[in-house]
Subunit: 237 residues, 2 copies
């Protein structure tokens, strides 16, 4: 359990619905570590871009796949300001007025300065880390990266300078006088669910499911499986 | 069926994995209209922000809930450049090398200039549209917005100037020489699934499920239900 918190500044203050804001690292880490995809905002020549990409966390540091972000970073040697956002949608909330219609969610916005991973040792660690963080132990079970692949892969890293979490997890919340209205009103849960694994048609028959993939069972929530895998690889959090 | 396409420019060209790029409006609209939440990238004083928010489309125009974007827009009378990104995750792809590990997804990045909706008639339409687009007919079934709520709600609108879609929907794709390796290799589907509606504890008993919510049945994919609702409200697409 991490009982530290991020400082609240103008950049990460939760302006809209501040009662939903969370700044403690335990909550923010759980939201991040339950996800595979983040949306990265960055700016090139005044134009903002928002790119979805696979990411993971190590302590207060986020790593992600290079993509066009690396083009941006290569052009600015000192790194660039970015915002990394992770969102889990948990329910649709149908109220008695339009104003109180809502969505239950858990989200994090993390701010920092992104830089390209150029150090060979850090890059080698990231190559394995990107696989093992999601599928514990898998980097040892697959074919290692060859020099061409290492060259073709780029990673970006960002130390989290500030972050904020935001959570809505309550039921329908209507104005008191509206509860008497004859309106069908409910919360409809939404889950990101894993299906049955579809084996590669060219798989060698009879291979057992690896230990690091046993958590990815059909019907399970993806965020649960990802968080469990995370704690296997990073038992300290 | 819309057979128009967006122009390809430096801003929306798909640089990484260009074979996954889509520029036809039919594909891009389907990806947008299957979603409730978009991630909006915008810049304030050089700092990029990425905010998740409910959104919907009308023709080549996207609307979303104001949030802190409106603060930004209010400060710049002529509107600001934004990027609106929608991502659906469809599968985890476990290959025989780290390099070919992947995720199946459908995503759209849409670019344009955002402005605050200030015209009273456009705002009234947006207030109803934000409810009806997801739950056809619901704006007529709930308590109408009062002046205080209308004042407290802000919407942002953006004409799509350029957009690109990106889709990966294939199975495991390994290097030819790697298929012989004894590695457990599969595609694990991921779906965002609706659960059983949890009625508001203060609901009036016996109210029937409204017509516009009958598509939101337990076990169904959220994106399917959202796309179906969309076409009920916008039969022309």
């Amino acid at each position: 359990m991490n009982d530290a918190s991020y400082p609240v500044t103008e950049r990460n203050r939760v302006r809209r619905k501040p009662d939903r804001g969370r700044f403690d690292k335990a909550t923010i880490y759980d939201i991040l570590d339950s996800a595979l995809v983040a949306h990265i905002a960055y700016t090139i020549d005044g134009q903002p871009y928002c790119t979805p990409t696979g990411f993971w966390r190590e302590d207060d540091r986020l790593y992600w796949h290079g993509s066009s972000a690396s083009r941006m970073i290569r052009s600015q040697a000192k790194g660039v300001p970015v915002c990394v956002t992770v969102t889990h949608m948990d329910a649709i909330v149908l109220a008695r007025s339009g104003f109180h219609h809502s969505v239950n969610y858990r989200s994090v916005m993390a701010f920092g300065t992104a830089r390209l991973v150029t150090d060979a040792a850090e890059k080698a660690r990231a190559l394995d880390g990107f696989v093992d963080r999601f599928f514990p132990g898998r980097s040892k079970e697959i074919r290692p990266a060859d020099p061409q692949e290492i060259k073709a892969t780029s990673f970006v890293v960002m130390d989290i300078e500030e972050a904020s979490g935001k959570i809505r997890s309550t039921h329908v919340m209507d104005d008191e006088e509206d509860y008497a209205l004859p309106v069908w009103t409910a919360r409809i849960p939404v889950r990101q669910v894993l299906g049955e694994a579809e084996m590669c048609p060219r798989s060698i028959p009879g291979l057992p499911v690896p230990e690091g993939l046993k958590g990815y069972t059909a019907g399970r929530s993806l965020d649960e499986a990802l968080l469990e895998a995370y704690h296997k690889v990073y038992p300290e959090g």
